[in-house]
């Protein structure tokens, strides 16, 4: 019984996959399709022996277009429409039958049962049909179809596919598809009553796969088998479980790093304005928002006037966002903050007021709703790495965050401007005496911090809603990161952001997203009690002021 359901499921999966495939067939294949159609039409009138011959011929033609029709034939859904003598796939749907073309899948609408004549099938034929479908897909010219076929056999563990698989493995040229076929064959072998040695070898092949699917197969085996095979299966399951736990941990770390890189991007500009200059910039989040809106405007411009540039829209937006946010930052420093140096609480209030003004300005200009920022092609999609699925967007954001961080470290450590900046923050009067224009350095430093926030906005526009409230959602997190990492220390910000990201993601499975976040906040509050100046505190007299 289970044998039959398995087999039918296998055929179903394969044919659905193939069905998707044939819709995209090029026109050149149409001649083949006609030949296939002729064979299928012939099924209607042939006797059982002739039908078997036709099925074999269809398999020999090697055209996957025949698969849906064969599947329907095996399931007893291939029927003759009496009105025009046409062969259709008619699937019962309640009281009526839904008819469709056996090759193109074109919908013919509902047909009454009386107008249909079922093309009869027996067990012998069903076996032939399954073999034909297996060889049509497993021996297909398209490696993607072969891969999908192998995967569906792996899921169904259908022993009748073993012979076809052997043939396919021998002919296979692509290593990963062959591996998949071998695993499929091993899964099928475990369903047969072959000698224990064969089964032990199959267990090894499955165990090497090492994922949830492999664990399920082996668990089913451990329940039914006995002797050596049972122990081997149990051992393999233990090993797989271990590696699955490991992969889950790796995945958490990855998600954590991904979140951490977002935090890093949001906080790194603040690490300069707050950490280096000691200015509480509550409008920092709005600099991020400005960067995101610059991205939106660049994309709009590209959409209307130069669509072919869309893939590089983010690269164009980066310098523009830096300049725009940086210019706003310099204006803020010159206009407001320079009057408030040494009065951090007043600075906090004034910049909060600024953030309200900037938010409302953006709301008036662009409207209160979310704006659509698209992802370029190189940022969409995903790839597998071991037991992980990584999306390109996240990978790029991590890379980008690290790049921005490295660039800033270089600017601060290796350039004349960085040297002046550090000199002014460490001893303003002495720096001034040495001929450094401290007011200029102040303005440019603030501009740099704001510009970096704008650049972060370009990246964050890819993963967050671009709305006037964008900045608000990051401001508290950013301050937490900077304070946690240690004020005045870029490395502290890096470690702080990544730590908070990873801790957050490890808490989430146990506590839920919101509670996890609350716990992190409480943790930071307690942490600040213990180390009021963060993880990597500056030492020396400068700290006391």
């Amino acid at each position: 019984m289970s044998f039959w359901t398995n087999a039918r499921r296998a055929v179903l999966v394969v044919s659905v996959l193939i069905g998707c495939q044939i819709l995209g067939l090029p026109a050149a294949a149409l001649a083949d399709a006609d030949a296939v159609r002729a064979k299928i039409e012939a099924l209607a009138t042939a006797d059982f022996a002739a039908k078997e011959a036709i099925v074999t011929e269809l398999a020999a033609m090697g055209d996957a277009a025949a698969v849906p029709a064969l599947r329907a034939f095996g399931d007893g859904d291939l029927q003759l429409r009496k009105s025009d003598g046409k062969v259709v796939i008619a699937v019962r749907d309640g009281k009526v039958y839904k008819a469709s073309d056996p090759i193109t899948g074109e919908d013919f609408g509902e047909v009454d049962r009386k107008l249909l004549d079922k093309i009869r099938v027996n067990n012998n034929l069903r076996r032939a049909v399954r073999a034909a479908i297996g060889s049509l897909t497993l021996l297909s010219k398209d490696p993607e179809i072969r891969r999908q076929a192998a995967e569906s056999v792996l899921k169904s563990r259908d022993p009748s596919a073993i012979d076809t698989l052997d043939e396919a493995i021998a002919a296979e040229t692509e290593a990963d598809v062959r591996l998949l076929m071998e695993q499929a064959k091993a899964a099928a072998v475990l369903q047969t009553d072959r000698p224990a040695a064969d089964k032990l070898a199959a267990v090894q092949v499955i165990a090497a796969r090492g994922d949830q699917e492999a664990k399920d197969i082996l668990a089913a085996l451990a329940a039914s088998a006995d002797g050596d095979v049972k122990t081997a299966a149990a051992e393999a399951i233990a090993k797989i479980e271990q590696s699955l736990v490991l992969w889950a941990a790796v995945q958490n770390v990855w998600y954590g790093l991904s979140l951490g890189s977002v935090l890093l991007l949001a906080a790194i500009g603040l690490a300069i304005t707050f950490g280096v200059m000691g200015v509480i910039n509550m409008a920092h989040g709005e600099m991020v928002m400005i960067g995101a809106y610059v991205t939106f405007m660049v994309q709009e411009l590209i959409r209307t006037s130069a669509p072919w540039l869309f893939d590089v829209s983010l690269l164009i937006a980066l310098p523009l966002a830096f300049l725009t946010a940086g210019a706003v930052g310099v204006a803020i420093e010159r206009g407001i903050i320079r009057w408030l140096y040494g009065r951090p609480l007043e600075t906090l209030l004034a910049t909060w007021g600024l953030s309200l003004i900037l938010q409302q300005a953006v709301r008036s200009l662009f409207g209160p709703t979310n704006r659509e920022v698209g992802a370029p092609s190189w940022m969409s999609g995903a790839f597998d790495l071991g037991g992980l699925t990584l999306t390109y967007g996240r990978v790029w954001i991590i890379v980008f965050a690290i790049a921005v961080f490295a660039l800033l470290v270089v600017v601060l450590r290796r350039t004349a401007f960085g040297l002046q900046m550090r000199a002014v923050t460490q001893n303003r009067r002495m720096a001034s005496s040495m001929g450094i224009r401290t007011t200029w350095v102040d303005a440019l430093t603030f501009g740099l911090g704001s510009g970096v926030a704008g650049v972060a906005g370009v990246a964050l526009s890819q993963i967050d809603n671009v709305s006037p409230n964008l900045g608000q959602s990051y401001i508290i997190d950013s301050f937490m990161v900077v304070v946690f990492g240690g004020v005045g220390n870029l490395w502290g910000t890096l470690v702080g952001a990544l730590t908070l990201g990873v801790v957050n993601k490890f808490l989430e499975p146990y506590a839920g997203a919101v509670l996890g976040k609350i716990l992190v906040l409480v943790f930071i509050i307690l942490f600040i009690q213990k180390r009021p100046r963060g993880m990597f505190a500056l030492k020396g007299r400068a700290v006391e002021s």
Partner: protein, 376 residues
């Protein structure tokens, strides 16, 4: 002068007393068409402002006199509001939509079977009122004890108070906290068997708010004009020096922070029955910062100025959001910038110029000078 109230303080108390009597009388005794009639909407609106004024007063006590800029006072305000809101929920009894005599509607909706333990006792008003004082007070005490002992000061303290209210915001949004989640507590019917919607109740709540504000003012005044208050000012102006002289700075700070949180809780408790709802958005960090700007507008370290600032800014807000909703945030943001840059002493600084008698010097400490020196 008695109690060291100062001329402005006396005027303030007299105005409050007159309002507490006159507004309810004008509202209740004159028919609506009379020119003397004060509409109920106005009574409710100004009742709200008085609660805000009490909140501003509590912030001024810690910020203006002790230099603690709390960006989390909205949390204490909201906790006081939730405490009284829980009592009002229990008062609904079986008149709720689901008619459950014990469980509030949202708990029935969420399929809760029995009342969580922390809701016990809230069916008594005296217990709720006690909690209005104790819950914010306890939170402030624990939070302050940690923060002041480890000498978290200045901006760091501001940021962690902000983190505190943000954490509470997130927590109260959760449905399984048992405080109504997103929707909060609402649909209140009556208090002590008196209908909350009736004009006389609203007028009574207005009078109560005015009395609470006056009482809060007297408490603050008593604190700041005592010897303790002088130490607080010393802490504000030169914390290390005060410590070196031998004062336990953290004890003083903790005391004033806790008292201030309780006052904020009372303000929230009077606010909720007047607006008829309390939900987690009251915990939003933006609310707390907005309350700080009321103090700055009115005049930091003046008490009366804080209350005045709260009323002025909120009257402005009501007018703006009605007439020019687009421009309100511009106005509020501009106010933040303008006041910090050009009005460091607030509105009261305009009417009380520097040339005032030396006796008033306690009220006008040199705010900027020490901090500036410290930064150099």
């Amino acid at each position: 002068m008695p109690l060291g109230l100062g001329r402005v303080g006396v005027v303030f108390l007299v105005v409050l007393a007159v309002a507490a009597v006159a507004v309810p009388v004008l509202n209740l005794t004159f028919p609506p068409q009379s020119a003397w009639h004060v509409p109920t909407t106005t009574v409710v609106l100004f009742g709200k402002y008085l609660c805000y004024a009490l909140l501003a007063l509590s912030i001024d006590l810690v910020w203006g006199y002790c230099g603690i800029l709390s960006l989390g006072h909205g949390a204490f305000f909201a906790l006081g509001g939730y405490a009284i809101g829980m009592h009002l929920m229990r008062e609904i009894g079986s008149r709720g939509v689901y008619g459950n005599p014990v469980l509030p509607d949202f708990m029935v909706f969420l399929n809760w079977k029995e009342l969580p333990w922390y809701w016990y006792g809230f069916d008594h008003l005296w217990f709720a009122v006690l909690m209005v004082l104790l819950v914010p007070g306890a939170l402030a005490f624990v939070f302050g004890a940690f923060a002041f002992r480890s000498r978290v000061t200045g901006v760091y303290l501001s940021i962690i108070t902000q983190a505190m209210t943000y954490a509470l915001l997130l927590a109260f949004f959760r449905n399984d906290m048992g405080f109504g989640g997103n929707n909060g507590l609402t649909d209140f019917k009556d208090v002590l068997g008196i209908d909350l919607q009736k004009d006389s109740t609203r007028a009574g709540l207005f009078a109560l708010s005015a009395i609470a504000l006056g009482a809060g003012f007297l408490v603050c005044r008593a604190i700041v004009s005592s010897k303790l208050g002088k130490v607080l000012v010393a802490v504000r102006d030169a914390e290390s020096r005060t410590r070196f002289i031998g004062y336990r700075v953290e004890h003083y700070k903790l005391f004033v922070f806790t008292v201030s949180a309780m006052m904020a809780g009372v303000a929230g408790a009077l606010y909720v029955p007047q607006v008829g709802i309390i939900n987690p958005s009251e915990f939003a960090p933006a609310n707390s910062i907005e309350a700080v700007i009321w103090v700055a507008v009115g005049g930091r370290g003046t008490l009366v100025g804080a209350a005045l600032g709260a009323v002025v800014v909120n009257v402005g807000k009501s007018w703006f959001t009605g007439a020019l909703p687009e421009l309100w945030l511009f106005a509020l943001g501009g106010l933040f910038v303008f006041v910090t840059l050009f009005l460091p002493k607030g509105l009261l600084g305009l009417v009380r110029p520097r040339t005032a008698k030396p006796a008033a010097a306690v009220d006008e400490p040199p705010v900027e000078a020490p901090e500036r020196r410290a930064a150099e």
